[in-house]
């Protein structure tokens, strides 16, 4: 008796056995299509090169789950989209769990053990929760539709910056259609689900165990009320239900079958991409294996399986494009387009049963589907795209791998080619004699130790710009005086120091990088020191993150943390404070690359300055345009440079007096940009070291030789 009155939903109620079999046949067919699709995708990934990212499986899986549950990455810089996605995501998950629960009882536990549990109060709560989940799901989908139709977000415009209107792959309209098909399919499935629920209530409105508990499925109850109101009889509802049931069921099965073939697959690929995320992506570029003949990515199957997987994870959200400095100034690069081009290429070339001929696998060139070299050379490897990608696509390593191939082929700006030759010959990008590397130190009132000849505590790796660029030499001398004043036992490598190779590596000249890195590591290992300091974030990054791959394990600090410590330890003292209104530009290689956001800010505040942040700060800092070797490639004339774009942003801060940088290349880039962008006279660009130098108390002997930027003709 109990079993009859207890509320539940009888599956396939009123169905003939044959129709139930028919439905199962469709179900199995859908699953078969789904599995075949997955097989083709997995075969595609397996055609890529090996990658060791299967390590730490448990940790990786855990962090993926946390990222997905918190929606941390999707909420960043677009919280409305993040919340809407959360509604869809959790709605979908709950609806999936719901369906799985029913399957568990109906197809497994009941036939095997004769036990049922989907009834009574469990069933009622289940109904309520799934109704809410369904509502959330629909709400999320509606917002996504609104976003696409009415918000006109540039990042959701798939038109390409690297193609001309009229080119066959210019506007990517098929992606737009796919987006809409995806949203409509889900909306229709969920709405028909609710209507189906209501129809059942009307149909069984005479059955107390159904009708009396209808408020546990409130949406269904509400719709049932309307249906009754417009004159639906139980019999009519019964007929209507059969048709709608099949429509809803077939659509849902089709959806499942199509998952691996459409953007829906991101539910798997994005999760996997998050799981295989490399925390060091871009910070530490991959080495070229000893036995590999060609460097970098030339053909689509030169990509590792992990890179191929990342391509499929992209959901075209466009956050990378929004953050990209090259894109912001109209360069023919959108990180998303590079990823999508390669994805389309892989889907065309690597999903066939047999691999096409080698010539058809070449991803470089001017044909439809290929990536232009102008696109690759536009990248400044600032990591803004990698940083913001919600699904852990690693654009920069892919771009650099492709550049390695361009370098091998010599497809690069002649000036860059010349600079690389110069670096090989002289060990620095200025083409200066090695002997002149420490010339900046000549007129200091004290001797700097030669770390090659005597032990020191701190070895100062100066870097090319700080050593040879006249404007930066002023800063370099100031830093030497600060170290000297603080009583730090420090020394230099003098002419044995070579370009650290950070930017050479990001250009894609891996052979030259290996040469520079191993030379520097050899020199460093022959010296006796405790730790390294540098004022150059680029050198900082490669020594910290990449030298270990070549056997060079060193402790290294950027100067901002060292200076902060020296103040804390009382080794440096202030003799005045300054209350000027300033802003701080996070260098890519200190901030995004190495999370050194706080030390410079703490020092700035210590000096008393009124720090006002620009809109794009910390992990969203906007590259000066010099990274990835772009400092050696002239920017095209007639379009705004990224540095000028940044000056406009700073210029919008009312009463700004000083634009603070903490990177030699930034000083060069922004002092130039200040002159050309019309803010000269309004505020100045200065290195943080110079500001510290202004406020630090020096012993008398040093004050006499005080030197500030104003005294130097720049």
């Amino acid at each position: 008796m109990n079993e009859i009155t207890e509320p539940t939903r009888i599956l396939f109620e009123g169905f003939q056995l044959q129709t139930i079999y028919l439905f199962y046949a469709f179900g199995y067919a859908a699953i078969a299509v789904f599995i075949y699709g997955c097989y083709v995708q997995i075969r595609k990934y397996r055609r890529g090169q090996p990658d060791p990212s299967w390590n730490n499986f448990v940790t990786r899986f855990g962090s993926m789950v946390v990222t997905m549950l918190t929606h941390r990455t999707i909420k960043r810089r677009d919280s409305a989209a993040g919340k809407a996605h959360a509604l869809i995501f959790f709605g979908f998950i709950l609806l999936f769990i719901g369906t799985a629960t029913i399957t568990l009882e109906y197809d497994i536990i009941e036939p095997l053990f004769g036990v049922t549990f989907w009834k009574g109060s469990f069933y009622l709560w289940f109904s309520l929760i799934l109704d809410v989940a369904g509502l959330a799901f629909i709400a999320g989908l509606l917002y996504m539709m609104y976003r696409r139709k009415w918000m006109h977000l540039p990042k959701l415009d798939y038109k390409r910056v690297d193609r001309e209107p009229g080119d066959p792959d210019y506007d990517r309209s098929e992606y737009r259609r796919e987006d809409w098909a995806f949203l409509w399919t889900l909306i229709i499935i969920s709405v028909t689900g609710f209507v189906l629920e209501a129809t059942r209530l009307v149909w069984l409105s005479e059955t107390a165990s159904v009708w009396d508990v209808r408020m546990w499925s409130p949406v269904g109850a509400f719709l049932a009320m309307i249906m009754k109101g417009i004159g639906f009889t139980p019999e009519a509802a019964g007929v209507f239900r059969t048709g709608l049931w099949w429509f809803h069921g077939m659509l849902a099965l089709a959806f499942i079958a199509l998952i691996p073939y459409t953007k829906v697959k991101h539910i798997f690929t994005a999760s996997a991409s998050l799981m295989f995320r490399d925390e060091m992506a871009g910070r530490r570029l991959p080495m070229v294996p000893e036995d590999q003949v060609e460097a970098g990515y030339k053909k689509i199957d030169d990509l590792t399986w992990k890179s191929l997987l990342h391509l499929d994870a992209c959901t075209k959200c466009g956050r990378c494009q929004d953050a990209c400095p090259a894109n912001a100034v109209g360069a023919p690069l959108s990180p998303r387009d590079v990823i999508l081009s390669l994805r389309e290429f892989a889907n065309k070339a690597l999903t066939k049963k047999e691999l096409p001929e080698e010539a058809e696998l070449d991803i470089h060139g001017k044909d439809v589907g290929q990536v232009f070299m102008e696109t690759l050379w536009s990248c400044r490897t600032c990591l803004a795209c990698v940083e913001i990608c919600p699904v852990a696509v690693e654009h920069v390593p892919i771009i650099v791998q492709m550049r390695r191939q361009l370098v091998e082929q010599g497809d690069m700006d002649p000036i860059l080619q010349k600079t690389l030759g110069t670096i090989h010959k002289s060990g620095n990008s200025f083409g200066e004699s090695k002997r002149k590397r420490a010339k900046w130190a000549q007129d200091l009132p004290f001797e700097i130790k030669d770390a090659r000849k005597e032990p020191v505590d701190v070895l100062w790796f100066v870097g090319d710009y700080a050593s040879f660029d006249p404007r930066n030499q002023v800063v370099t001398r100031s830093f030497a005086k600060l170290l000297n004043q603080a009583g730090v036992n420090f020394g230099l490598l003098f002419e044995a120091e070579m370009n650290s190779g950070n930017d050479v590596r990001r250009v894609g000249e891996e052979g030259l990088y290996e040469f520079l890195a191993t030379s520097n590591i050899g020199t460093l290992q022959s010296c006796d020191f405790k730790s390294i300091v540098t004022t150059d974030p680029h050198s900082f990054n490669t020594i910290r993150n990449e030298y270990p791959d070549f056997g060079g394990e060193f402790e290294i600090q950027h100067y901002t943390t060292l200076v902060k410590e020296l103040f804390e330890q009382g080794k440096l003292k202030l003799n005045k404070q300054n209350n000027k209104r300033v802003t701080f530009h996070d260098p890519c290689h200190l901030g995004r690359y190495n999370k050194g956001y706080d030390a410079p800010r703490e020092v700035i505040k210590l000096l008393g300055y009124d720090l006002v942040e620009m809109d794009r700060n910390r992990d969203n800092s906007f590259c000066c345009g010099a990274g990835g070797g772009r400092i050696w490639i002239p920017d095209p004339v007639g379009i705004e440079k990224p540095s000028a774009n940044r000056m406009r942003e700073a210029g919008a801060i009312e009463g700004l007096e000083v634009f603070i940088v903490s990177c030699p290349k930034d000083l060069t880039m922004f002092e130039d940009a200040l002159k050309t962008s019309g803010f000269e006279g309004q505020f100045v660009v200065r290195e943080l070291i110079e500001l510290i130098n202004d406020c630090v108390e020096y012993d008398d002997s040093i004050i006499e030789t005080q030197e500030t930027a104003e005294h130097v003709a720049v």
């Binding site: 070229v288 091998e408 010959k425 002289s426 004699s433 002997r435 052979g511």
Partner: protein, 264 residues
């Protein structure tokens, strides 16, 4: 089909150099070595012909000098040259450019190429005579300062344009085999990546001595040189001075200087 490309490793001065004790050259410590800039272009021209040809074209680079020049030959191999030959023994020290041309001619006889390219000149010595003396020793036709070349593998004639003074060009038809000295800018030389150079280390550089080429001690080195360097020096530079001050002061200062020059 074979193209012989004669190349040279040249020296560039480091900052603040010193002269050798005998005063006839720069102290080697202050020299940086690299492949002669012109040779990048002549090798590229040979590579272009090779790559555009349907038949097999072998590009052979040859250079004369001690061990260190292997770096430059490797760079050529990295750019795609098929073979590299280095000719040297100590007796060759002090050879002048005409002698070098003659040694190269001996290599050419051994290799019997269909075409020989050399740079117009070397950036360190600037004699611009090696290629021409090579042609004269072989008795081959030659053209200097070639700024444009229409030639495909196995052609019996090459159409070249030569760069003359005052922006004039000259179109010349030349019978092959011939020796061409190639001017900068004729093409865009390719980049030799460091990985390429490293990989080229696996290719053996063929080493020859003068005797392998049928030359005696008398044919090379100081023994055969008809010119030799007596001394190298930095000429005393003229003086320049910027006169500062108001226009009137400047004028007064200028008058002083003129008077001084006139000896008043």
């Amino acid at each position: 089909m074979k193209i012989l490309v004669a190349v040279k490793e040249v020296a560039a001065l480091d900052e603040d150099f010193e002269l050798r004790d005998d005063g006839r050259d720069v102290d080697e410590d202050f020299l940086l070595y690299d492949l002669n800039e012109w040779d990048d272009f002549s090798l590229e021209e040979a590579m272009r012909i090779k790559e555009e040809s349907d038949t097999d074209v072998e590009v052979v680079v040859v250079s004369i000098g001690p061990d260190r020049i292997e770096d430059s030959l490797r760079k050529c191999l990295a750019k795609g040259a098929d073979r590299a030959i280095r000719v040297w023994d100590d007796s060759m020290e002090g050879s002048d450019s005409i002698t070098i041309g003659h040694v190269l001619a001996a290599v050419a006889k051994k290799e019997s190429p269909n075409m020989i390219f050399a740079g117009v000149q070397s950036s360190d010595e600037a004699n611009a005579s090696t290629g021409i003396s090579l042609a004269s020793k072989l008795g081959w036709p030659h053209a200097a300062v070639v700024a444009g070349l229409k030639y495909a593998a196995n052609d019996s004639k090459a159409l070249i344009s030569r760069e003359l003074e005052s922006g004039l060009s000259q179109e010349v038809e030349i019978v092959c085999p011939s020796v061409l000295t190639i001017q900068l800018g004729i093409n865009t030389p390719r980049y030799a990546s460091l990985r390429g150079i490293k990989q080229a280390a696996k290719i053996d550089i063929e080493e020859l001595s003068p005797s392998d080429l049928g030359l005696s001690d008398q044919d090379v080195g100081l023994n055969s040189a008809k010119s030799n360097i007596r001394r190298m020096y930095v000429p005393v530079k003229g003086r320049a001075e910027i006169i500062e001050g108001t226009p009137a002061e400047k004028a007064a200062k200028l008058i002083d200087i003129i008077k001084n020059f006139k000896g008043e």
